[in-house]
């Protein structure tokens, strides 16, 4: 599992690195910082699909992260059919490569910075990610929860005693007026 994650991370880093790409290939940082240079040009952008596949009629919004920042990709539902697993806490998402027109301020989408994809290639299928539970955390949780709850009970009982809402066994017996003082 760790090996797979390592390969995945290396893949993402390589995609984000400018030195590893040729011609029109660009990472999110380049696109944001040199938006005017790339505006309305065809570029190649790769990364992991994150969060959700947002369906909008016959098109789909994919948010694709190259490990540094995420970019909105507007793609037809047909092309997006290849994408199945978006990245979340419990899973790494599909890694894709899209080719399309980059807009610094897309006139079709209210000035959003986005990418209109013309082609989409699935580079790697997403996979579930396990989160191991360290034993020390379980012990620490048990070791702190028990005294904390006991202390909380102490605080609550302390207040109840003061307000006289709940008499405890430490309340001194009322000395007068009992029907049977010997009882």
């Amino acid at each position: 599992m760790y090996c797979r994650k390592l390969v995945f991370m290396i893949l993402l880093l390589l995609m984000a690195s400018p030195s590893s790409v040729s011609g029109e290939e660009a990472g999110s940082v380049q696109l944001i910082q040199q938006a005017k240079d790339y505006d309305e040009r065809e570029i190649v952008y790769s990364g992991e699909v994150i969060g959700d596949i947002l369906r909008a009629g016959d098109h789909v919004w994919l948010n694709v992260s190259d490990g540094r920042s995420a970019m909105g990709v507007w793609v037809t539902a047909e092309l997006a059919g290849a994408v199945e697993i978006p990245g979340r806490y419990s899973q790494r998402g599909d890694v894709i490569r899209v080719t399309g027109r980059f807009s610094r301020a897309c006139p079709e989408h209210g000035g959003d910075m986005d990418l209109h994809a013309q082609s989409l290639v699935l580079l790697e299928r997403g996979f579930p990610v396990g989160h191991a539970v360290p034993a020390w955390k379980a012990w620490l949780a048990a070791g702190t929860t028990v005294p904390a709850l006991l202390l909380l009970i102490g605080v609550v009982r302390g207040f109840s005693q003061k307000r006289g809402l709940r008499p405890t066994r430490f309340t001194p017996p009322y000395p007068y007026g009992r029907l049977n003082p010997k009882a």
Binding site: D52, G72, H109, M113, L151, G154
Partner: protein
């Protein structure tokens, strides 16, 4: 004398303890979320953190129990507020740190302070793969911070305390909606919870129309509403509101953060039938004027540089960031670096001004506050009139806030003093940014965001920024949210004790 002081210190610890107990108990909500989502490691993190807060809070509450009926002075009330926020931040950062999503405990504390103060700047790494439990905690912190930690404790854990109002004021809220502070804080929570249900429903629908699945739309709706109402600015995804690519989502969030930035007294007035208050109140008037002027400046700045293809897009992007900054929310529909690379000085000037002006007093918002701007504007008007009129003419300042108010000189002085303190803090933050190697423009933008508890970023705030700057921003967020007095009262008290007990 000494015994009385010891009793008062005991009372301070007692109430700080109660606030910490409240923060410990609240962590059972993200704990439940983690259990439902089968995030076992996160559940353990919350169990450890909650227990730590209960242990520290319980010990402090029990330790000072004997003094709890002692009448609190203003200084003690303020110390409860400032101390609760400080210790609350240290303890609430534990789940962040244990999750492994933060580089250091300082980064975790930064995010907690940012959440509690409803700033919204973040140090989290890999936000897009964050657990649902941790996302719930981030947004819950913002929601609680918006109403106030002390408000939370006063609402649910304290009964009939003589010093309640002083603690309440210590948290920078001073409106009396009800006859006493405890009823007032409960009413604040009632208003917030009613809007929570309504807002989550609307954003749930907005999320579904944006293409989210029903369950994800509900969670996102709940979290984004919490951040919007509290003028917080956190969002579950790294692209913030841009993630949804939805005009409906933008409009819905805008409505909620504008409402959230209004004074709770205004909410109370409107909910009890005084709807005309919306158009007469000095805060809504000053907000309308400043938003109109600054929107014009922003749009002009963006159009001048041809940042957007048409006026509609320039208005949509410009207005959203501006209103988000003005209400001190910090939601964004552009990338942080776009401010630096594309927006130009005129638009940035308008956004910086909006962030410093802020929302309403006694709301979840930060900044100078509309009430103070109203008082200062009226006072300046009076002084100008006085120059034109004969010496014998009596000029009075009058504004409308729930009722017609003629402020006395102390109120006017206080308004000027707090605004000056905000400007000094902004200058200190800007200087700290420049000393850390950032340009004046970037430093000023980020400092305005931190000082106004806004959360818009130009790209300075990130895990790699210098620790000294992180620490400076944490302190600024803290003092600005509590409007200086509580932290100053605590600092003076601690300095006095050090001088008396440590120095020869």
């Amino acid at each position: 004398m000494f015994a009385r002081r010891a009793l008062r210190d005991g009372a301070v610890w007692h109430y700080i303890g109660l606030v910490l107990i409240g923060m410990g108990l609240v962590q059972y909500i993200p704990l439940m979320m983690s259990l439902v989502c089968r995030e076992w490691d996160m559940a353990l993190d919350f169990l450890i953190s909650s227990s730590s807060a209960l242990l520290v809070g319980g010990a402090a509450a029990l330790g000072g129990r004997q003094s709890r009926r002692t009448k609190l002075g203003w200084s003690q009330g303020m110390m409860v507020a400032a101390g609760s926020w400080f210790l609350g931040t240290l303890l609430c950062a534990l789940p962040y740190y244990l999750s492994g999503n933060y580089r250091s405990y300082l980064d975790s504390c930064f995010d907690v302070m940012s959440g509690l103060t409803t700033t919204g700047l973040t140090m989290v790494q890999d936000l897009d793969h964050l657990s649902d439990g941790l996302n719930m905690w981030r947004h819950l912190l913002t929601f609680i911070g918006g109403q106030g930690l002390v408000v939370l404790a006063l609402s649910f854990l304290v009964k009939g305390t003589s010093g309640a109002y002083k603690m309440y004021v210590g948290e920078a809220k001073d409106e009396r909606l009800m006859p006493n502070a405890v009823s007032t804080t409960r009413y604040i929570w009632l208003i917030s919870l009613i809007y929570l249900v309504l807002g989550t429903l609307v954003l749930w629908i907005a999320g579904i129309t944006a293409g989210l699945s029903a369950d994800r739309a509900f969670l996102h709706g709940l979290w984004v509403f919490m951040a919007a109402w509290s003028t917080g600015g956190f969002a579950p995804m790294s692209q913030n509101i841009l993630y949804y690519h939805s005009a409906f989502y933008e409009i819905a969030t805008m409505v909620f953060f504008i409402i959230g930035s209004f004074n709770f007294a205004l909410h109370y007035a409107v909910l009890t039938g005084k709807r005309r208050e919306l158009v007469r109140n000095v805060e809504t008037l000053s907000f309308t004027v400043t938003v109109t002027v600054l929107t014009l400046i922003t749009t002009l700045g963006l159009m001048r540089l041809n940042v957007y293809p048409d006026a509609a897009a320039a208005f949509r992007k410009g207005f959203y960031q501006l209103i988000s900054g003005h209400t001190t929310t910090g939601f964004m529909t552009v990338y942080a670096r776009q401010f630096h690379y594309e927006w130009g000085d005129i638009a940035l000037f308008a956004i910086i001004s909006a962030m410093l002006l802020g929302g309403s007093a006694c709301s979840t918002a930060g900044g100078f506050k509309g009430l103070r701007i109203g008082i200062i504007a009226h006072t300046l008007g009076r002084e100008t009139r006085r120059m034109a009129l004969p010496d014998s003419t009596v000029c009075i300042v009058k504004y409308h806030h729930i009722r017609d108010v003629v402020p006395d000189e102390a109120q006017i002085r206080s308004a000027f003093m707090i605004v000056i303190l905000y400007i000094v803090t902004f200058a200190v933050g800007t200087l700290a940014g420049m000393l850390s190697g950032y340009s004046f423009g970037m430093s000023a933008f980020e400092s305005a965001s931190v000082t106004g508890n806004v959360g818009l970023s130009i790209g300075v705030t990130q895990p790699s920024m210098p620790s000294a700057l992180k620490l400076t921003y944490i302190v600024i967020m803290w003092v600005a949210r509590l409007e200086f007095m509580s932290v100053l009262a605590m600092a003076v008290n601690i300095a006095g004790k050090v001088r008396k007990n440590v120095l020869p």
